[in-house]
Structures are given as C-alpha cells and as structure tokens.
C-alpha cells in the first residue's frame, strides 16, 4: 500500500496542503492533474526527494516520512528518464544490485531477465546518447525495477513518446499491473493512460486530491 496522509509541501510561492490518497497493495494507482498542479511534487515527496512541511507517508506497514530515499525500497522513474550518461544500459540495470553487494553471476542473471522483459537485450552495451526516447524509458523502468522493489513511482513516463512507442510501453506497464507484485503510483495528465492502466484513479485539482 502507498498511503499519503495529510501531506503538505511548500516551495516558494507554490504550496500543497493536506493531500491524502491511498493505493492498495498490488494495485495500480494513477494520479491525474493539469501541468503545474503539483503531481511531480507529490511523487518526489513519496520518494524522499522533496522536503515536506507536514503529513505522513506510509509504504505498506512502514512509515517512511523521514527515511532516506534509498531506505524506502521503492523504484522511481522520472519524466525524462534521467539516465546516467556515462554508463551502459547493462550498468544501469546492474547499478542497484552492485550497490547491494550482489554477486556478479546473480547480477548477470537479473540483467538478462530484465532485458528480455523490456526487449532491450540488443542495447545492453549502448550508452544513453545512442538510445531513442522509448528505449531510454524502458531502461529507466528496468533500472527502477532491478532490485525488485515492492513500490514503483512513475512520473509521466509516456508523455514524451510517439504513438507507437507509447503503445508498446503501455503494454509493458499493463503487464506490470496484471502481475500485481508491485504497488504503483503513476502520475499523468492523460485520461486515456489512466483509463487503460488504473485500478484506482485520483485527480489533483486546485490543490485537492479527489478519488474518481
């Protein structure tokens, strides 16, 4: 479960107050809202990347409000993918496991498994500069899922993709949803995406979150 309880965020003139939402365990939650409404800020707060003024964030039974991002056990895919420019695709997929001291053989196995799932086996030796937008988003998704997190945060992962690429990426995310192993909070301004993927839908309007 991803639960946000009366979350307040302030940055300069921008502020969100008393935001609450809950995505049940294993479900795919989609948060919709206009550009600039604060969707990304909420996601960053859940990831531990944005300081909050008040409120509580829970992932399953754990209250993670004041934990470091790395201790929250969640995967995060930002809007632009934010790939590591000097690393190969292989290194991206192996990064989190290397940090955890996993042995080389297990890492190789996991990277192969992820690359097969994402259809990027032929890209493993490439660097981000040589990837298309769709390929980059797949690598970002693989990197976020590499250490098998129970929670996944997606920040408009499809917004910069063309129609065809978006279709295949939606299929991937739909597969993730059907698997039910991961609790997802996906932020988007696209109603079509929400209708296709969401188990639970929320709308952020004028600083208030409404369940649809």
């Amino acid at each position: 479960m991803i639960a946000i309880d009366r979350l307040s965020i302030r940055q300069g003139a921008f502020a969100l107050r008393d935001i609450s939402l809950e995505v049940p365990t294993g479900k795919y939650g989609v948060l919709m809202g206009k550009t600039g409404a604060g969707k990304t800020s909420i996601l960053e707060a859940v990831a531990g990347l944005r300081a909050i003024v008040g409120g509580k964030i829970r992932l399953g039974a754990r209250v993670v409000t004041h934990l470091e991002p790395g201790d929250r056990g969640l995967g995060y895919v930002p809007q632009d993918g934010a790939l590591f420019r000097t690393m190969t695709v292989y290194n991206h997929l192996a990064f989190a496991l290397t940090l955890r001291g996993v042995d080389r053989k297990t890492i190789d196995g996991r990277v192969t498994e992820l690359a097969d799932w994402l259809g990027i086996t032929h890209l493993l030796r490439r660097r981000p500069a040589g990837l298309s937008g769709g390929e980059a988003q797949r690598v970002a998704l693989g990197r976020a899922m590499s250490f098998r997190p129970q929670y996944l945060l997606l920040d408009e992962p499809l917004s910069s993709l063309d129609e065809t690429t978006r279709g295949s990426m939606v299929d991937l995310l739909d597969g993730l949803r059907k698997g039910g192993d991961v609790t997802v909070l996906h932020v988007t301004h696209s109603r079509a995406e929400a209708e296709r993927l969401a188990d639970v839908r929320f709308r952020l309007d004028d600083g208030r979150v409404v369940k649809e």
Partner: protein, 332 residues
Amino acid sequence: MTAAGSTARFYLALALIGGSYVVLILAMLIADLFYTTEDAFWAAFRSPEIRYAIRLSLVSCFVTTLLSLWVAVPLGYLLSRTRFYGQTVLDTFLDIPIVLPPLVIGLSLLILLQTRPGKWIEDLTQHQMGFLLTYIALPVVIAIGSWPLLRRLPSRAEGLLYLPVVAAVVAIVLRFSGLGASIEPRLQDRFGTRITFEIPSVILAQFAVSCAFAVRTMRVTFDQISPRAEQVALTLGCTRSQAFWAVSLPEAWRGLVTAASIAWARALGEFGPILIFSGATRMRTEVLSTTVWLELSVGHLEAAIAVSLLMVVVAIVVLLLMRGFGLRGGAM
C-alpha cells in the same frame, strides 16, 4: 538569395570576425620565431638554469592543478547544488583572485605569512615537516592505500572507522618500532623548508589565482548537469557521496578536464605573485615566466624570446595531452 548562400555568408562573417584574433596570435608567434634564432633557442634549452626553470614549472603547475581541482570540485558542486545564506558574498569573494592585479595577490600572500598564524605555519613546515610526514601523512597514505584490501565499496560507517583506525595503528607501529625515528630525520632534511621565497611559495602563489578559475569552471559544469540523475541514484540505494562519485563526477568529466587545463595554463603564465612572494632566485624559485623577466632585465632579448617560445611549446604539448587523454576518458 538561396538558403545555402545565406548560411555560407553568415558563417563567413563569423569566421572573419573570429579569425582576426587567430591571425593576431599566429602573427605574434611568427614574429617571435623570426626575432630569435635556432641557436638561441637550443642554447636556452641547454642552459642548466633554464632546464631547472622548466622542471620547476612543470612540477609546480602539476601540483597546483591537483590542488585546484581538489578544492574546485567540492566548492563548485556546493555552489551549484545548494542555496545558502551569504552565497552571493561567497561568490564575490571567489572572484577576487580573478579581478585583483596579480601583484596584489603576491603582496597579500607575503603579508599573510608575516602574521602570527602565518609564522607558526612557516615554522611548522621548516622544523616539523619530518614529524608531520612520518606520523600523519605516511599513516594516512598507507591507510588509503590498503583500502582496496576490503575488495568492495565500503559503507559509510566502515569508511569513517577504517581510515582513522588503520592510520593510528600505523603511526603507533612507526613510533614504537624505531622505524619512524630513522625515517623522520631523512624526511625533515629532504622536505623541511620555509614557505616564503622557497618552492612552496611558488605553488601557493600559482594556486591562489588558478583555483579561482577552476572553481568557476566546475560550478558552470555542475550547473549544466541535471540533479535528477543523482536523485534517481539516491532512490536506488546510494548515499549522497556515492551518488556524487558514481553519477555526477563521471558526468562532470569534461568540465574537470577543462578546469584542469585552465588551472594548469593559468599557473604556467603566473608571474606577478611569484615575483613578489617567491622572488626570482636562479636554481631555486625560478619558473619559466620569471626566466623571461630575468633574461629581459639583463638585456638578453633573444634568450627571453627563446624561453617564451619554449613556454608556448610546453603549453601546447601539455594541454593537448591533457585534453586528448581527458576527453577520451570522458567517452567511457
């Protein structure tokens, strides 16, 4: 007018304006080349004083570059990634070495070393250098050198504990085994020195100016790197420092090479502060820039020009090597 024709004219206009500067540089070098003779050039190169100046220039510029990067990387990163009270004032302070006349920097360093803390530091480097190197620097180097024995990336707690403990054990072993007592006088003889008017003053004078340029370059470099990738690294389990070392620093590689090139080039050309703070003593604090001045002051114009050309050659070779290796490294 066709689109291709318009583009060609535009680029031609830019090339003409920019090219005039390139022509000026080439013209100066060619004029120097014609003013001196091949014999004067080789005579300068064979002179022991000038060979010493070349050696000291290369070594001091190398050390200055390392020190500049050592400071510029963390400072540039801090200025780029954080906002804090007094940041504008700090920013202005960092520009002081860039805008001040170089002579004033040299004078300020000289005055600094005449203050009570300055004299204390100079006394330390002159009389206690053997002790500092034997019981502090050597144990720290051994502790860092033995780090790979852990055969993995150490955790934060291990890092905080490992270095001081190993360094302390090495220092105790050195002290009570008698090994330290035999090393200390040798290191004192070899490295115990004043700062003012000695080689350390050359490096300090170069560093005082070069570092400001390196800091500016590193700040712009980090400004251009999105912090987003680093944030993702944090969610993947990195600590702040791991994210910096694994993600941001490799991405800043080209900026690092540029900062090193600028710091090195600036150090090579430094003259005013060295003259005031280090003097221009032959075979002691003479670097290539002071050689030009020394040769000029005794009327050896040909030798001065020969040394200037030597500086151009040395600068081109080192900068090309630095950029060649550096940019290849950046394409990792």
